[in-house]
């Protein structure tokens, strides 16, 4: 018999961003039970995590167990005793040969356990094992921990309840509808569960809620914002979008400020016209079916008006003091206790921009870059730091290079984010990040494990991306001031970038970096060359030969020096290799690899490097060393993992 299973954990509102991971976790935990089933579906709303599975057996399959009895040579009483214990007669026993001799044995049938019992036993632990980033207790000290209090549990196999208790809640067959539109207790079965919820204004499927929001917004041009959409999908059980408007006067404020207020503070979508310009409208998603009287719309409009009024007040107040005049204020804003104020940081950044070859305009941008930290607008909307500085700089007549550099200098904030649009912005951004990294490492603030309070990994990743993608060919290692841990930290970031972000193979990255990685633009160029070379037929065999050469040199303790003495070269493969090498030296490996490879192969085939004559031997090592050195400026090919 095959049964449907329904499992719902009813919770007070779970933070939206934790829900997808929790579901995935629940799925893994369920699969670990190894109960056979045909399919599993996972769903969630802010108030419930739901797992439904089809085709579970009512009980597990029976199994057999071999029970070993006394030895064949044992007295009959012992044999009878064993048989009696197994509930059979002695004649029913079989015998079995073991390394210790012949023994009586019995194949016992073990009846499969009821699936319901297995679930009842396992489900409480499964609930408590679901991982959440931050948990609470609610039944009292020492009580179970979960993301929010558990208020009901539905656990049914077929039409039967899977009985257990957790945190004072007994599992049952009653779910709960929408907080305001549905009933508090609703009897369900695994088959009618989703429909019963729908009757009580809960749309169980996230995909369906997403569609409902999309459809509700179909008539208007909302700024695409997938992350906000996901937030709203998991913040509602019955989402219904509505559109509100605001006074067009507010459009005088910078779009960045308006969008931030709507997006981050109110979770509204902003609306734009066909040209991508903001219109005085917004879309919000209610957790209710309709707003016939317009109460919700008007309420949201009033909140937004108050917020925009605040922003306008800050925008106007801040304009009364120019950015440049705010520089002295930065002396009172601490960057980090041991690293001084933002005034100190600004001075260091200006020096670094000069070191990076920055022109006077870039230095000016660095000088003004942190001045927005003392503005009211940034105090209110910290996520707009940099952007606000750039906007004020523009309003105060700074040149485009300057205001754009200020505007962009926190970029890139993620692997997906763009890098600053111009060289000056890139230089200011590099200076900012490098200063933070150098400073933090110098006072021992080094990220460990998942702890990275200053976001140093992101900063270093930003440096790498700007240098590579901004084609800034400066020696990175010089900028790291020989700080050993910082160099190692960057080495990891560079590897991560080229491997995970750019898709180079790990051995290619190792090979190219072994030939130096201080100039990341050059490193990228060499990696591109390797990527092109790799599929060619000569590449891997030659890489294998280079590995062999390196091993020979290491074994011989040969570190180079001297030139090849032509008179000592043996005619044939050795001389030919030398002549070929002399011809092609200085040319890129791509154009010579097909000529070089057969000569190298032949050399190893016919020539004994370890010649009895010391002078000949030395000469051969010199030949190999020169060859390796010539082509290792691009990559250390011996790092390439080959099949041979």
């Amino acid at each position: 018999m095959s049964l449907p299973f329904l499992f719902e954990i009813g919770v007070e509102e779970i933070p939206d961003w934790m829900i997808p991971d929790a579901l995935e976790n629940l799925h893994v935990l369920f699969e670990k039970l190894e109960i056979p089933h045909e399919s599993v579906t996972l769903d969630a709303t802010p108030r419930r995590l739901v797992l439904r599975a089809e085709g579970l057996p009512a009980r597990q399959a029976d199994s057999q167990e071999r029970v070993l009895g006394p030895a064949k040579s044992a007295p009959p009483q012992a044999v009878e005793g064993f048989a009696r214990k197994q509930g059979v007669k002695s004649e029913d026993l079989t015998t079995e040969a073991t390394p210790k001799g012949e023994y009586y044995s019995f194949i016992r049938k073990v009846p499969g356990r009821l699936t319901k019992d297995i679930l009842a036993e396992a489900l409480p632990a499964i609930i408590l094992q679901i991982y959440f980033p931050k948990t609470m207790y609610w039944t009292g000290k020492g009580g179970p921990r979960f993301i929010r209090p558990i208020r009901w549990i539905v656990a049914m196999l077929g039409d039967q309840i899977v009985p257990f208790e957790l945190a004072g809640v007994r599992s049952g067959a009653l779910t709960s509808g929408h907080r305001r539109l549905g009933a508090r207790e609703i009897a369900v079965t695994p088959t009618d569960f989703e429909q019963r919820l729908r009757d009580h204004y809960v749309i169980l499927s996230a995909e369906e809620r997403r569609e409902k929001i999309r459809n509700g917004l179909a008539g208007i041009r909302v700024k695409s914002d997938p992350a906000l959409l996901e937030t709203l999908v998991y913040l509602t059980e019955y989402p219904t979008p509505i559109v509100g408007s605001f006074d067009p006067q507010f459009l005088e404020l910078p779009e960045e400020v308006l969008v931030t207020v709507m997006r981050h503070h109110q979770k509204y979508f902003s609306v734009e016209d066909a040209q991508g310009k903001l219109t005085p409208q917004f879309a919000t998603v209610m957790n209710i079916d309709a707003d016939p009287e317009g109460f919700v719309r008007r309420g949201n409009e009033r909140v937004l008006r108050a917020r925009f009024n605040d922003a306008r007040f800050f925008w106007e107040t801040d304009q009364k003091k120019k950015l440049a005049d705010r520089l002295p204020d930065l002396a009172h804003v601490t960057f980090q206790a041991k690293l001084g104020s933002y005034r100190d940081k600004t001075k260091r950044m200006m020096a670094l921009v000069r070191e990076l070859g920055g022109k006077p305009l870039a230095v000016r941008a660095a000088r003004l870059s942190k001045c927005d930290l003392s503005t009211e607008l940034v105090k209110e909307f910290t996520e707009l730091q940099g952007v606000v500085g750039g906007l004020y700089a523009r309003a105060q007549g700074e040149r485009p290079e300057v205001w754009q550099a200020i505007y962009d200098h926190y970029q890139p904030e993620s692997m997906e984010d763009a890098i600053p649009r111009h060289l000056a912005g890139r230089q200011v951004s590099l200076a900012d990040k490098l200063d933070t990294l150098r400073g933090c490492f110098s006072v021992g603030l080094i990220p460990t494990g998942s702890r990275d309070p200053f976001g140093l990994r992101r900063a270093a990743q930003g440096v790498v991306r700007i240098l590579v993608e901004g084609k800034i060919a400066v020696p990175l290692l010089d900028l790291l001031e020989d700080e050993r841990q910082l160099v190692a930290f960057f080495e990891d970031r560079v590897k991560f970038y080229f491997k995970d972000h750019r898709g180079f193979k790990y051995d290619e990255v190792n090979a190219a970096m072994a030939a130096g990685w201080s100039n990341l633009v050059d490193l990228e160029a060499r990696l591109m060359r390797i990527r092109t070379l790799r599929p060619t037929p000569d590449f891997e065999p030659l890489a294998a030969s280079f590995k062999r050469i390196r091993n020979i040199l290491i074994q011989a303790g040969f570190t180079g020096g001297g030139a090849v003495v032509e008179s000592l070269l043996e005619p044939g493969p050795e001389l030919e290799l030398h002549e070929e090498f002399t011809r092609i030296a200085g040319q890129p490996i791509e154009s010579v690899i097909s000529k070089l490879r057969p000569k190298v192969d032949l050399f190893f085939d016919k020539v004994l490097v370890n010649a009895p004559d010391a002078a000949v031997r030395q000469n051969r090592l010199t030949l190999l060393h020169t060859l390796l050195a010539e082509f290792s400026t691009m990559a250390d090919f011996s790092e390439i993992v080959t099949n041979s």
């Binding site: 931050k134 609470m136 609610w138 009292g140 209090p149 209610m286 209710i288 309420g299 108050a306 601490t334």
Partner: protein
């Protein structure tokens, strides 16, 4: 239209009907209702407790000279503590909104993650900000720790922002236009206070004097806490509550100094630590005193 005071009466009545003691505001300046002994100390220990009170809450840095329609130096919180939290707390809370005339069938309510933390009190909890048509009207917190101590019973704390809630109900764009009582506006009652305290906090508060006061209150609290003897048979007589008043004074002075721009970011952490140490000391002594009764 329900006036400001009528809404307060209704909410108090609502929670009184559900077993809450109705307290009057605490008479020492605080930044939030949570800091009053009725919350900060009562949530500690194993005794169940239910209380509701309106607490004027002072945030010197939020003052705007009475010019800004939404920001106040001093706003009123209705603070409700239900210890331990009843299982249907969410339903009770929503019904309290209905009790003041909000038809939840017509409005949008969302519970958005917002965990509360007070470094000065060594306290934190898990919870939500409750959004009513996009407006944050209540902070809902399950306390987990107070004064650095894990709580025996987990209380639910509901903090209603009364000005916002009433402005919402009365459909006013400025808090100063709220009708406090029939024919009397919020502005008439409170505007002068907002203006004068903004002037004092931002312009005229004497920084050395405030630091001196801070030191005096800190010293008095520390002196008392050092004298507390957990082994004394008379320990229930010991003035832990007066010591806490001095801690509250420190906290308010810290906020005033902060709004005056007298505390650098670096100093900040250090001063918070000093207040926190005292708050933790009070919490521990308070819990220790309860054990005599148990």
């Amino acid at each position: 239209m329900q006036s400001f005071q009528e809404i307060i009466f209704k909410l108090k009545q609502y929670w009184a009907d559900r077993g809450a003691i109705i307290q009057e505001p605490y008479d020492v300046e605080v930044g939030a209702g949570t800091m009053c002994p009725e919350t900060f100390l009562r949530v500690l220990g194993p005794q169940p407790y239910r209380v509701a009170y309106v607490q004027p809450s002072r945030r010197p840095a939020d003052g705007r000279y009475g010019d800004n329609p939404n920001r106040l130096y001093k706003h009123s919180q209705l603070q409700v503590i239900l210890k331990p939290s009843p299982d249907d707390i969410m339903e009770q809370y929503l019904a309290s909104l209905e009790a003041i005339g909000i038809d939840l069938r017509q409005h949008d309510i969302k519970f958005e993650e917002d965990n509360w933390e007070s470094p000065t009190l060594g306290a934190w909890g898990i919870g939500w900000q409750v959004m009513l048509d996009g407006l944050e009207v209540t902070q809902f917190t399950y306390f987990q720790q107070c004064g650095g101590i894990d709580l025996d019973l987990v209380p639910a704390e509901l903090t209603y922002g009364l000005e916002r809630l009433v402005a919402f109900l009365q459909v006013k764009d400025s808090v100063y236009d709220i009708e406090w009582a029939k024919g009397v506006s919020y502005g008439e009652i409170r505007h002068r206070e907002e203006l004068q305290y903004s002037v004092y906090n931002f312009e005229m508060a004497n920084i050395p004097t405030l630091w001196k006061l801070f030191g005096l209150h800190e010293g008095e609290a520390a002196r008392l806490l050092a004298a507390y003897d957990p082994k004394s048979p008379d320990k229930r007589r010991f003035p832990v509550l007066p010591a806490y008043d001095h801690v509250l004074k420190c906290s308010n002075l810290f906020n005033t100094l902060d709004s005056r721009g007298a505390i650098s970011v670096t100093e900040r952490v250090g001063v918070i630590q000093r207040v926190r140490k005292l708050a933790v000391g009070v919490a521990q002594a308070w819990v220790d005193q309860q054990e005599v009764a148990a």
